[in-house]
């Protein structure tokens, strides 16, 4: 036995190969998922504010992207961000006073319905609205809806069910 032989070096395992999916060029995310993110934004905040939500979503994604540890489910990741941005939007809107040139004395009428069914979706409670949007605008399965909403698949299924029930009632 050669005492000088560096046994420990031989025994050391080879350099660990990280099984991290390499991040594709960000443009790929835009090419593949922009339509869907826009649909989620439209569903969540309405057509007129959808572009703001879309911009906020992609800017936030771009900011975080290089540090993303796993490029495995980029679509789910983007849609989760879009939902957070939509919630931010609703919160900001709730707080924000609307500046007006002069106080109107006539009753304010609701704008004409332009988004059809999505307008009704927009009126659902937040969880139901998110579940319906993710299912039908984004075509996500229950498990991904659950991941996006941060709840169990069962809870996601329930939210979706409740949301659809309510929509059917409104439409009938």
């Amino acid at each position: 036995m050669h005492s000088s032989w560096p046994i420990s070096r031989l025994a050391r395992p080879q350099r660990l190969i990280h099984e991290v999916t390499e991040l594709p060029p960000f443009q790929t995310l835009i090419d593949e998922h922009a339509e869907q993110v826009m649909a989620v934004c439209r569903g969540a905040v309405g057509r007129s504010d959808a572009d703001d939500c879309f911009q906020e979503t992609f800017i936030a994604a771009l900011r975080a992207y290089p540090k993303l540890s796993d490029g495995g489910n980029l679509r789910g990741w983007l849609i989760t961000i879009a939902h957070r941005k939509a919630i931010d939007h609703h919160r900001a809107r709730g707080r924000r006073p609307v500046p007006v040139a002069e106080v109107r004395e006539v009753a304010v009428e609701d704008p004409p319905p332009d988004d059809g069914i999505w307008k009704l979706v927009g009126a659902l409670p937040p969880k139901q609205r998110a579940a319906v949007t993710l299912r039908y605008a984004s075509d996500l399965p229950h498990t991904e809806i659950a991941a996006a909403l941060g709840c169990s698949p069962e809870a996601a299924r329930r939210s979706l069910h409740e949301g659809l029930k309510r929509l059917r009632k409104e439409l009938s």
């Binding site: 390499e22 060029p25 960000f26 443009q27 835009i30 922009a34 800017i59 771009l62 992207y65 290089p66």
Partner: protein
């Protein structure tokens, strides 16, 4: 959607999030891919090179924040158009050399100084880069040039005057040398 995407690219650039912008442009030899960082032009893809692979390589080696955006490449496109029309003999674009290192970068910097319409040998390039015996390595530096055309590796030939190789294919190298009046026709 297009307006939204343009707005996104503009905002990304304004917020310092556009690490690599790329676009494509036409040339007499086919479509070129141009990529720039905020420092300068970082990559030119020749028509026979796979654009998707180039972008994946840029994402891995420079930054994954790679976006299609033409405005940051307007100047590069303008200079290349003039070059192909024979109206520009020296590029004035800022270059980002980060994709080449050490000896190869020294070779490429020497190549960038070869005047329009002139040629040098691989041996001369090896010598300029500080190692006259590293002729093969000088050849490799040309072959892996991330900025062809702008760093004119097409002006480097074999010592006997044979064309040598070219990343964009020999017909393109011949075409460029004809454009610059080195070859007849």
């Amino acid at each position: 959607m297009k307006a939204s995407l343009n707005r996104l690219a503009e905002r990304a650039a304004a917020e310092g999030l556009l690490d690599v912008a790329y676009t494509t442009t036409d040339s007499p030899f086919g479509t070129l891919l141009l990529a720039t960082t905020p420092r300068g032009l970082v990559r030119v893809g020749l028509p026979n090179q796979d654009a998707d692979e180039l972008l994946i390589d840029l994402a891995a080696r420079v930054s994954p924040r790679v976006l299609e955006a033409s405005a940051p490449l307007d100047e590069a496109r303008r200079e290349l158009d003039l070059y192909f029309e024979g109206k520009l003999t020296e590029f004035e674009l800022p270059l980002d050399w980060q994709l080449s290192h050490d000896f190869r970068r020294r070779v490429l910097r020497a190549i960038a100084r070869i005047p329009y319409g002139q040629t040098r040998s691989y041996t001369q390039m090896a010598t300029s880069a500080g190692n006259e015996r590293a002729v093969r390595a000088a050849g490799t530096a040309c072959g892996t040039n991330p900025l062809p055309l702008v760093v004119p590796c097409h002006r480097v030939l074999r010592s006997g005057g044979a064309l040598g190789g070219y990343g964009g294919g020999l017909p393109m190298k011949e075409g460029l040398l004809r454009l610059e009046g080195v070859l007849d026709g």
